[in-house]
Symmetry: C2
C-alpha cells in the first residue's frame, strides 16, 4: 500500500468540481461541490448520532436505501438544519445535482455544512450547479468548497492491490469545530474503484469509523450534519469482494489508512488549534477501557488549555481519567509526554515525579504532542486524537455567524 | 427566611480565621483556613465522584464515620492529590489543627485545593496553624484563604425560624475551574446552629446538592478534591429535628437557599467568565429530561463561546440538546434569550424565526443571561447554571502551575 495524490479523484472513474454559487457572500470562497462517479457505485454511509439532524441527512438516508449512488452534492455556508423548508430544499438540492448530471435524484447524496437555523438559499444552488466543471483533478477544488472554519483542505489517497490488481481509495473531508467522538463528527467523502458487496462496504466503514473518526475530539460537540460516505464503483475490475476473505481484509486496511489519515488531519486543524494531541493509553485491560480513558483526556478543556500553554500539568490527565467512568488502578499508572524534542516521564505509579520543567516545556512546545499513559494491566492499546484549546477557538466561536 | 451577613460565622458558636502559612509564595494571599464550632456538631458531607481522589477526601471520610466534627482545616495552593506522602500529610494537617484547637484529630475535616501531584509542604501548615486567629467575624478571611483562581470570595447566610426559634445557616465556598455537575464540584463549607439528627442532615444535604451544586458547570471537569460539608451544632436550641416533619422541611428549604446562592456565585465566577448563564428548560416531561438537556446546553463549548461573543446562535442550543442522549420533540421546541435588557424569541417549533439581531446582541451583552427552552410537553422545570467560554479561561488554564 502506498500513499498517492489525487484525493477523491485518485480512484478510476471519479470526477469532482466546485463553484461559488452565492451561499457565502465572499466571492473568493467556493461553496458548492460535486463528486461524480462515471458508474453507479455501491455506497455505504454513517451519520451523526445527534437527535437533531439536518434534513439532508434524512434525504441521503432515503436515497441510500438501495445502497447505490452516483454523485455527492455538498454545500458549505448553511447547514440546512432546523431551517424553514429544510426537507423541501434538501430534496431540491439533490434534484438540481441529478438534473445537471443526467442521473436519477435517488442516486444523489446530499450534504450541507454551516450555520444552523437559516433557510438554505436554494435558488443559488439551483442556478450555480450548472457552473461546476467536473474534472479528473478536481478533488482539491471540491475539498476547498466544503470547508467552513477549516484552515486547510484535507485529502488522502492510497494505492493497493487485490489479487495483483491495482485498486485505489481516496477521500476528502472537512471538520474543525463541533468535533467529538460519536460518529460522523464531520463530513468525509471517500471514493474507491474496488468492486465490493454493499453490506461488506458498510461493515468495513462502520468498524473503521469506530477506530478513526470516532477517536477524534475537538470540542465535545457532535454536529447535526455529520456524515461519512464511501462510494465503490468497481472500475478497478478486481474480482468482486463478497465475503470476509483476504481481499476484504486488504480493502478494509487500506480504507482504514485513508480514514485515519483524514481523522488526524481534522484533529490537527481543530478550530483554533495550535497543536495536535495524540493520546495513547496502553497496557490496558480492554480496548473499551483504553478508549474511554484516552477520549476523556482528549476532551478535557483543562488539559487542552494546559497543552496550549506547554504546561506539563499531568494532574489533569489523571483527573480526566478519574471522571471518565471506567475503572483503573491509580497505583499502576505511569504518564509521559513526548514529541520530536524528546520524551519525559512525569508520573510513576500514580504519584508525581520530580522532572525537568525546562525539558518538559520544550517537549510540549512542538506542533504534535504524544501523551503516553501506561495502565500496567494487560496489553490493549488505543490512540485518540485531539487538539489544544486556544484563544482562537474562543474567538472563532464567539462570533461564528457574522 | 431572610438573607443576612456573616457567612459561616452567622450561626451561633462558629468562629473562623486564616493565615498565610507559606504554601503560596505570595505573602499577600492567605492559604490556610480554619472553621471551628464551640460545640461538637452533627456533620454531613458529599464528595467528588472522581475515581482519583485526593488523600484529604479519604481522611475526612474516615473522620466522619461517626457523623461528628468540630473543625474544618482547608489549605489552598496544593491539592495533595496524587502527591508523594499524600495520606501521611493529610493526617498531619488534621492533627495540627486538632492540636492547636485542643480537640481530637477525628473531629477535624481536612480539605485541600490547588495543583495536583506536588508534595504538600506540611511543615508550613504545622508551623502556620497556630498563627490563625479565630474570630466571630472571620468568615470572609477564611473564604479568601480557600480561593484559587476565584476572583472573589463567596459566602451566603440566612436566618429562619423553627417553632418560633431563630436559626441560622451560613456558608462559604470556592470553585472556579474544574466545575461540572457531578457532586462536589468545588469546596463548600456550611455551618448551622440547628439541632438535627445526622442522618436527616445528610439526606437534606444530598438532595439539595443534586438541585444546586450539581446543576452548575464551568468546564466539564470534575475535580479530585471536591467536597461539600455541613456542620450543625444545635446551639440555636430548637427542638431537635428527628423526623421529616415541618421543621425538617423549613430547614431543608433554608439550606437549599444557601446552597443555591453559593452555587450561582460559583457559576458567575467561573474561570475567565464574563457572564453568568442560567438555562431553564420548562414544560418538560420529566425532571431528569429537563436537567439533562439544561446541563448539556450549559456544558457546550460552542454555545459558551457564542455567549461570550453575544451571538444569538441558538442552533447550538438545539445541537447540544440533540446530543444530550435524551428524547424530546424537536417540532415543539421554542427557544428565547432574556436579560435585564429584554427578551427575544429566536426559535419556534424547532425552526428559526426572523429576529432582530441588534436587539438580540443587546440582550446578550448583559452580565447575566437567561436561556429559556420550552419543550411543550408537560410541566417539569429545571434551571442549570454556567458561564461563557472566554479568552481568559484559556489564559488561566494554559499556565496554571506557574
Amino acid at each position: 500500500m502506498q500513499l498517492i495524490k489525487g484525493g477523491v479523484c485518485a480512484p478510476k472513474g471519479f470526477l469532482a468540481g466546485a463553484c461559488h454559487c452565492g451561499i457565502r457572500k465572499s466571492q473568493s470562497k467556493s461553496d458548492l461541490a460535486i463528486i461524480y462517479s462515471k458508474k453507479k457505485a455501491q455506497t455505504a454511509a454513517v451519520y451523526t448520532t445527534n437527535q437533531v439532524k439536518a434534513d439532508c441527512i434524512y434525504v441521503t438516508k432515503e436515497h441510500l436505501e438501495n445502497h447505490e449512488a452516483q454523485a455527492i452534492i455538498c454545500n458549505s455556508g448553511n447547514a440546512n438544519a432546523c431551517a424553514p423548508h429544510g426537507r423541501e430544499n434538501a430534496l431540491r438540492e439533490g434534484a438540481a445535482c441529478a438534473q445537471t448530471l443526467g442521473i436519477s435524484s435517488e442516486d444523489v447524496i446530499v450534504a450541507s455544512t454551516g450555520v444552523i437555523g437559516q433557510e438554505l438559499p436554494i435558488q443559488c444552488i439551483e442556478e450555480g450547479v450548472s457552473q461546476i466543471q467536473l474534472q479528473e483533478d478536481g478533488s482539491d477544488v471540491a475539498a476547498q468548497a466544503i470547508m467552513t472554519t477549516d484552515t486547510r483542505s484535507k485529502d488522502c489517497a492510497v494505492r493497493f492491490e487485490i489479487d495483483g490488481i491495482p485498486c485505489h481509495i481516496g477521500g476528502i473531508c472537512k471538520g474543525s469545530g463541533m468535533i467529538h467522538p460519536n460518529m460522523g463528527t464531520m463530513l468525509a467523502f471517500i471514493t474507491c474503484d474496488v468492486a465490493i458487496d454493499a453490506q461488506l462496504l458498510q461493515k468495513a466503514l462502520l468498524e473503521n469509523t469506530k477506530k478513526t473518526f470516532n477517536r477524534v475530539s475537538v470540542d465535545g460537540d457532535t454536529s447535526t450534519n455529520d456524515m461519512c460516505v464511501v462510494m465503490a464503483n468497481g472500475m478497478a475490475r478486481n474480482k468482486p469482494i463478497t465475503m470476509e476473505d483476504e481481499a476484504y481484509a486488504s480493502f478494509k486496511e487500506a480504507l482504514k489508512t485513508v480514514m485515519e489519515n483524514l481523522a488526524i488531519q481534522i484533529a490537527a486543524d481543530g478550530e483554533g488549534a495550535s497543536r495536535l494531541l495524540s493520546v495513547t493509553v496502553y497496557e490496558a485491560e480492554t480496548e473499551e477501557q483504553a478508549e474511554t480513558l484516552a477520549k476523556s483526556i482528549c476532551s478535557s478543556s483543562l488539559f487542552k488549555a494546559a497543552m496550549f500553554g506547554s504546561d506539563a500539568n499531568w494532574g489533569r490527565v489523571l483527573c480526566a481519567m478519574g471522571y471518565s467512568g471506567v475503572d483503573f488502578e491509580l497505583s499502576k499508572v505511569d504518564v509521559s509526554f513526548a514529541s520530536q524534542f524528546g520524551k519525559i516521564q512525569v508520573c510513576s505509579q500514580g504519584r508525581g515525579l520530580d522532572f525537568d520543567e525546562e525539558m518538559a516545556k520544550k517537549i510540549l512546545s512542538a506542533d504534535s504532542i504524544q501523551v503516553l499513559v501506561c495502565l500496567g494491566q494487560k496489553d490493549q492499546v488505543v490512540t485518540c486524537w485531539g487538539c489544544d484549546l486556544t484563544y482562537d477557538y474562543v474567538k472563532i466561536n464567539g462570533d461564528y455567524r457574522t
